[in-house]
Symmetry: C3
Subunit: 136 residues, 3 copies
């Protein structure tokens, strides 16, 4: 059986937010011992990633790198309906991904010691973000 | 129970093709109400992505960005068996991913309003592409 | 039912290692005929990718491209606790992904002819890496 939950987050604008505990709670509520937890954002200008959870400088450096790969306000972009960060946000979402699947064992997320699950806002302004979590 | 389908597409060469309706049809045929739809391309020079489905300029700008990250005909490439777009296509496939998993609820793909599922051809010439869709 | 296995690999430092046969063996042991095989690394400085399995130059060129996107020892990085390859390894892990899901049909991985599953070490020194494989 699949268990499905919708989570909503108000982001503070561009940056990462650790949602590991939120996903762990949903997995625990599902009662599923062994399986997979799938997390999905219903948006095209934010993403989900798993990365180092200890030193916040890692996520700061990841922003630095993404700003080079998909800069804001690039003159080559045609799509700029919602401002200088609009197309950069779509590109960063594509490069880092809108879905994650994490193994579940003994009723818990089987993450490594240094792994955290992060919701990554790519728009500069705060947004409301909807996630669908499915545990199978 | 898992339901599995094979879909084939003839691409027009480099660019994106919206396959959301094709995947939605398979999900509907599976009869599964709550679960996950997994889409997989059996190739290493195309990919699958979820991005904005309204303004085609978004996908045009994504091509512009990928052309910088993994340019055609780069003198640093050693692999060029199938021409100047060969290695660039493999790299773009790795950076954007050959698989996608989307939640299914009430028998439908739980995509956000602006999300579309795209088959992304990275070779310049048209190709035949085989996808495996698994609904669990 | 979900079947879950832990695999361990000692990497030789930066580079790719073909683990397709290891994953295929686990799928075969699971006894599952139709479904999904999910592979997950419990680390934030290596990744998993599916790419061309015939010409090793493809993986060599992928390293060349990643070295441009996330170079070692970049003066802009703040996180450098574990040396000049530390932050580059985290960034490459985020860009290429720590999880893969592959369809299973007739008890086998449904990979295309040229697709291999690779464990991608991004640290320059050899490491011990733990993978969780879940077949559903």
């Amino acid at each position: 059986m699949a268990h499905q939950y919708v989570l909503e987050f108000a982001t503070d604008g561009r940056g990462t937010r650790d949602i590991t505990d939120d996903i762990a709670r949903v997995v625990s509520e599902s009662g599923i011992a062994t399986g997979l937890a799938h997390v999905f954002v219903q948006h095209t200008s934010c993403s989900l990633t798993i990365t180092e959870n200890a030193d916040p400088d890692v996520r700061r450096d990841l922003e630095t790198i993404l700003a080079r790969l998909a800069p804001d306000n690039d003159p080559a972009y045609r799509h700029r309906t919602e401002g200088p960060d609009d197309m950069a946000a779509h590109a960063r979402s594509v490069l880092t991904g809108t879905a994650l699947t994490v193994p579940v064992g003994a009723g818990k997320l089987l993450l490594g010691t240094w792994q955290g699950i992060f919701l990554w806002e790519h728009r500069t302004e705060p947004q409301q973000r909807k996630l669908v979590v499915t545990v199978v």
